[in-house]
């Protein structure tokens, strides 16, 4: 599997309601120790309604300027959802289902948390 297999993938909740697309993979460096670093392990999917502009980073950082860009990008990403990997349906072997299905309802997912930059 490649990171690009997950990025951009549509995400549906338990009831088949579209949540958005995967814009990023939030990882913790606590996977198996390989060489000098622990491998990054996917902890959660960041899901937004669009992909556009997500790489600028404004959807995740409250402070980053300038004001104009922050406002514009965050308007595009009003609802950024953090979907813990543990609620992603992964029962099928081989390639993941397309689109990704969740085991929970959209309403049960945390939203505000995603606004913070990691690290």
């Amino acid at each position: 599997m490649r990171a690009s297999d997950l990025l951009g993938r549509e995400v549906l909740d338990r009831d088949g309601i579209r949540l958005g697309v995967v814009t990023d993979l939030r990882c913790v460096l606590d996977g198996p120790l390989r060489g000098g670093l622990c491998a990054p392990r996917v902890e959660a999917l960041l899901v937004s309604r669009h992909r556009t502009g997500s790489l600028l980073g404004y959807d995740r950082n409250e402070q980053q300027g300038p004001w104009l860009l922050r406002v514009l990008v965050r308007l595009l990403h009003r609802r950024l959802t953090v979907v813990p990997w543990t609620v992603v349906e992964t029962s099928q072997a081989g390639p993941l289902a397309r689109p990704l299905a969740l085991r929970v309802a959209a309403a049960d997912l945390p939203a505000a948390e995603g606004r913070h930059t990691p690290g």
């Binding site: 790489l55 600028l56 980073g57 950082n61 402070q63 980053q64 300027g65 300038p66 004001w67 104009l68 860009l69 930059t117 690290g119």
Partner: protein, 409 residues
């Protein structure tokens, strides 16, 4: 003392490096048609290039990343590739214009047809890129480019009514006879000529190659804030001499020869010789910068080793791109297409591409992951936002205005 010298050198080269064939032709052309009533566009462009060159220099010093690295990281591979294609084409087009400029300047000195000079000019540019060290190249061509100061001398010798000139600059109006679309078309051309994207590709890549650190930020700023505005003054002098000598005689610049004429009228043969030397040096220096920048952009997008500080063998693909660009630039001019027209198109297309380059720079220079505590201050961000809007407006308006005015006719 040595440090002071290096700063002075940097400033001087920035002055010489600011002016290229696009500035020479556009300033002369606009001066001969609109007087100084479009000086504001040059001034705005100078503020813009200072602002973004400073940011890109700071990013290079703090994070070690040059501009096209940022483009791909922030726009992603797909939009980044589209950006690369556009930027690369425009840089090569500008490269072609500069090679044409060298040849035209040599024709003025020798009366040998410029087409015969083109292959020699292309070969010379490539050889210098291949074999000559960065600092040498920067200093030599920057300093020789300073010969263009004769335009300021010529302006002074023409002893114009300064208050009248100042009035034209401060109370811009559109002289009768030219439509408003044409007026704004040339405003965008001047803006594009001042803010050409290759200038920041080159500036930031140079900083990375010379291993700038946080301690070099001050030097970089000094070069930017003193060098570019003085370079802008040179552009304005060119426009002013054209406005004083050519405008009253109904001469509209469409050849490099006309740009130099006011110098001869005002100050004679020796001054004109200096002007020609300045033309050659400025266009040659800019040809080096654009040639290298075409390689920088591609190599930085794909992550290849690039640069002049390593042996060419170690940056094989980078040198291959530079070689291919040189051949393409020479071939373009050898089609006998008018180099002045190539120049005019290159500055307008540069204006179209401005947001592609400047948006990622503005974003990264605000990103604490890269910049730590060296992120933009309030003033930089306020101005940066204003300019972002401005470059978007210019980019959107450029092509429709070009079509509506038949490229300013």
């Amino acid at each position: 003392m040595k440090q002071l010298l290096s700063v002075a050198l940097g400033v001087l080269t920035a002055i010489g490096g600011f002016v290229d064939i696009g500035d020479l032709v556009t300033s002369g052309l606009v001066g001969s048609r609109f007087g100084l009533s479009l000086a504001w566009a040059t001034l705005v462009g100078v503020v813009g290039i200072c602002l973004f060159a400073e940011m890109s220099g700071r990013v290079a010093a703090v994070s070690g990343r040059a501009t096209f690295d940022l483009v791909r990281e922030r726009l992603g591979p797909r939009a980044g590739l589209a950006n690369l294609a556009a930027s690369f084409l425009i840089t090569v087009l500008t490269f072609a214009a500069e090679v044409g400029g060298i040849a035209l300047a040599l024709e003025l000195a020798s009366s040998v047809n410029y087409l015969l000079w083109v292959p020699a000019a292309g070969l010379a540019v490539w050889l210098v890129i291949w074999r000559v060290r960065f600092s040498v190249l920067e200093n030599v061509f920057g300093l020789l480019g300073l010969a263009l100061v004769v335009f300021a001398v010529a302006l002074w010798k023409l002893s114009p009514s300064w208050s009248d000139l100042a009035h034209q600059v401060l109370a811009p109006h559109n002289p009768s006879g030219e439509g408003l679309p044409t007026y704004f078309y040339y405003a965008i051309a001047l803006f594009g000529a001042a803010m050409t994207p290759y200038e920041v590709f080159f500036f930031s890549s140079g900083g990375v190659e010379e291993h700038w650190t946080k301690r070099d930020i001050r030097t970089s700023r000094l070069n930017v804030f003193v060098g570019f505005p003085l370079g802008g003054l040179l552009s304005l002098s060119i426009a002013a001499t054209a406005a004083l000598v050519l405008l009253p005689r109904n001469i509209e610049v469409d050849a490099l020869a006309q740009v130099g004429l006011p110098v001869a009228v005002a100050a004679g043969k020796l001054a004109l010789a200096a002007a020609i030397l300045g033309f050659v040096a400025a266009t040659f220096g800019a040809a080096l910068e654009t040639g290298l920048s075409s390689g920088y952009a591609v190599a930085q997008y794909f992550g290849w080793q690039w640069g002049k500080l390593v042996r060419p063998r170690e940056a094989a693909r980078f040198h291959l791109v530079v070689l291919a660009s040189t051949i393409a630039a020479v071939a373009t001019i050898l089609t006998t297409i008018d180099p002045i027209k190539v120049t005019e198109y290159s500055v307008v297309f540069s204006a179209v591409a401005l947001p592609l380059t400047y948006l990622p720079i503005l974003v990264i220079s605000n990103d604490r992951d890269y910049m730590g505590d060296k992120v933009n201050g309030r003033v930089s961000n306020l101005l940066g936002s204003v300019f972002l809007v401005l470059v978007v407006v210019a980019a959107v308006a450029a092509i429709p205005l070009m079509l509506a005015t038949k490229a300013g006719q």
